[in-house]
Amino acid sequence: MKYSIIIVSSITYAIKAKNEFAHEAIYCRVEKVKKISNQKGCGYGVVVRNNDLERGANIMRSIGIKIIDIVPYKDGEK
């Protein structure tokens, strides 16, 4: 199973996304990410299966969550 991490601006938005995904039956977990960009420093993201990625990202955008980046997720390489 392949996963991606959808990076957001803070823990608040990661949890908001996680709660919304729970209503939509999208499995995910919140993780800390080492850097949300080279300029900004560390942040948070939600890890989702690639099968759910597009739907998840659209749900997040529809509830006003700004997506900073989407990157392939490899366990242990946060």
Binding site: S9, S10, I11, T12, K16, G41
Partner: protein, 382 residues
């Protein structure tokens, strides 16, 4: 504590529900990490507890945006952040003559110590007729008025200000409105949108029955105060400025996780009872106590207005307010005396140089407690 009659809910609510105490205890053991800083289980559990409370606060005020619920230490902290973060240079701020020092002191500080060239003045809200209050507000507006800071209800007499009407005028004239909800939130049923306010500042430890050290700033859509306190918030750490999105942009430093988890339980507790029920019970008791106090010789009431939260302000002939409070305390009745951090409001109500005694009630108080207090007040003699 047993055998205490607690009539000081306007200072802080007591006793807290057992569910609040349990939630605080659970937060210490199960949510002991620092929210928004780490990626381990305890940090994430703390962050989830914080977000649950943001959602509970938003829901309480029929507000859609949990991420615009900003946690502060108390109402004073929230008001300072809102006033200083939103005030425009070279402008006038309008406030009422029933304000607490949590409004007056930040404004005075801006007047005296900032280089923003801020002026402020107050309109009279100390009367029964709301149409007069609205007219006083309108008459006090100036060309350069850009901000209004007004209490929802006075902390010394309980007078409820017609905030929705004032907010409508503010919005028509492009004036931002900050409301101090210290005495109204959790006491009166309130809907953020219907109040027509831009910012609502209120405590977690009064009407919402949370622990002390919890305050909230609720920011309407598009309202983005500048940050007045900077520091670490777990976001954009490489940036020397506090940029980024709400709520973290206005939450520097570690938030009060255990307090906020307790606050969430407090909100659940009052929702279970119903704020309408809370207001009805405490108002009826307030009306009863007020009417009976009028029959006691030597008692003077101040600001005995019709539309009020359950607060009574009075003095007893021949007694300084501090002494009256002390005598009541000796009989197991907790009240607050003095100026209640609201000297201009006391001046408006002509309560005297030493202020007065305040009784403030909640749904936990009973008719038996009121009768006992009346008995003690009647027997108070030199």
């Amino acid at each position: 504590m047993k055998n205490v009659i607690y009539f000081d809910h306007a200072a802080t609510s007591y006793p807290k529900p057992q569910s609040v105490i349990n939630a605080v205890s659970r937060a210490f053991t199960q949510r002991g990490g620092n929210p928004g800083r780490s990626g381990h289980k305890l940090s994430l559990a703390a962050a989830e507890g914080i977000f649950e409370c943001r959602e509970a606060v938003a829901d309480l005020f029929s507000f859609e945006h949990a991420e615009r619920v900003v946690f502060t230490l108390n109402t004073t902290h929230a008001l300072n952040m809102a006033i200083k973060g939103l005030v425009k240079p070279d402008s006038h701020v309008l406030t009422s003559n029933l304000e607490h020092n949590s409004v007056i002191r930040p404004l005075y500080d801006l007047l005296k110590n900032s280089n923003k060239n801020i002026r402020y003045s107050s309109f009279s809200a100390a009367c029964d007729d709301d149409s007069v209050i609205i007219q006083n507000f309108t008459d006090s507006l100036r060309e350069d008025t850009k901000l209004a800071v007004i209490t929802l209800a006075s902390n010394i007499c309980g007078k409820i200000i017609p905030i929705a009407e004032i907010g409508k005028i503010c919005h028509e004239k492009g004036i931002l409105l900050i409301a101090d909800g210290a005495q109204a939130c959790g006491v009166l049923p309130l809907d953020f949108t219907q109040m027509n306010v831009d910012v609502l500042c209120f405590p977690g430890h009064k009407g919402l029955y949370g622990p002390q050290g919890t305050g909230i700033m609720l920011l309407g859509e598009g309202i983005e105060p500048e940050s007045t306190i900077q520091g670490g918030n777990g976001v954009n750490s490489k940036d020397p400025e506090m940029n980024g999105e709400l709520p973290e942009r206005l939450e520097p430093g570690t938030v009060n996780t255990v307090g906020i988890c307790g606050l969430r339980a407090g909100i659940d507790a009052i929702k279970k009872i119903g704020i309408e029920e809370i207001y009805q019970h405490s108002s009826e008791l307030c009306t009863y106590l007020t009417q009976e106090m009028k029959n006691i010789k030597g008692i003077t009431l101040y600001g005995d207005f019709k539309k009020k939260v359950p607060v009574i302000l009075f003095n007893k002939e021949e007694f300084e307010p501090e002494e009256t409070a002390m005598r009541l305390d000796e009989k197991g009745i907790c009240v607050r005396s003095g100026l209640h951090c609201a000297p201009i409001a006391h001046l408006a109500l002509k309560s005297g140089p030493s202020g007065a005694v305040r009784i403030s009630l909640s749904h936990t108080n009973t008719r038996q407690e009121a009768d006992y207090a009346l008995e003690v007040l009647s027997s108070l003699k030199r």
